[in-house]
Amino acid sequence: EPEVTQTPSHQVTQMGQEVILRCVPISNHLYFYWYRQILGQKVEFLVSFYNNEISEKSEIFDDQFSVERPDGSNFTLKIRSTKLEDSAMYFCASSADQDYGYTFGSGTRLTVV
């Protein structure tokens, strides 16, 4: 069964630091997403990415956030200057074009101290 791989599984960073969360989507998928889940709250959509550009973003995804697909396999989420409230589990997901398939990674737990 193909998987979406996220690294690291847990990252601790100091407030104000930049952090990059990495994801390797399923190889034949074309649509990529980031979601986050603050502890005890619902899973929230952050951004979707297709054809090397953002196709939709939520109000959470402000100028501190950016996404990139630097090569043919990785999909990254960068937070430029982390805040305490950025502490959450971040999930990457990908989906196919011709056939419905939406797969989540196991998540990166980001803790901002």
Partner: protein
């Protein structure tokens, strides 16, 4: 816009008893519906999905769900739960066919199976 309501935040149930986790959705267009499970300190795992066709959908681990368009519901059921089913369950909805599918999640229901 689409939304999901999970009516129960916590559901305690004894081992080997049946369970139903409730989910209602709202959307102005046709939707796809999903149930995801999240075990402690783990990611989201797809339990089952409804795209079209038969309204009774069977998923992994003995779970099933029934799509009811008139009641806009997609309740999850299992006839006999096991301790290992203790987890948080998320109902979710998306629209669109193939390709791009933004998913909207409910707030989750914690299933606590009591030995």
């Amino acid at each position: 816009a689409q939304s999901v309501t999970q009516l129960d935040s916590q559901v305690p149930v004894f081992e080997e008893a049946p369970v139903e986790l409730r989910c209602n959705y709202s959307s102005s267009v046709s939707v796809y519906l999903f149930w995801y499970v999240q075990y402690p300190n783990q990611g989201l795992q797809l339990l089952l999905k409804y795209l079209s066709g038969s309204t009774l959908v069977k998923g992994i681990n003995g779970f099933e769900a029934e799509f009811n368009k008139s009641q806009t519901s997609f309740h999850l059921r299992k006839p006999s739960v096991h301790i290992s089913d203790t987890a948080e369950y998320f109902c979710a909805v998306s629209r669109g066919a193939g390709g791009y599918q933004k998913v909207t999640f409910g707030i989750g229901t914690k299933l606590q199976v009591i030995p």
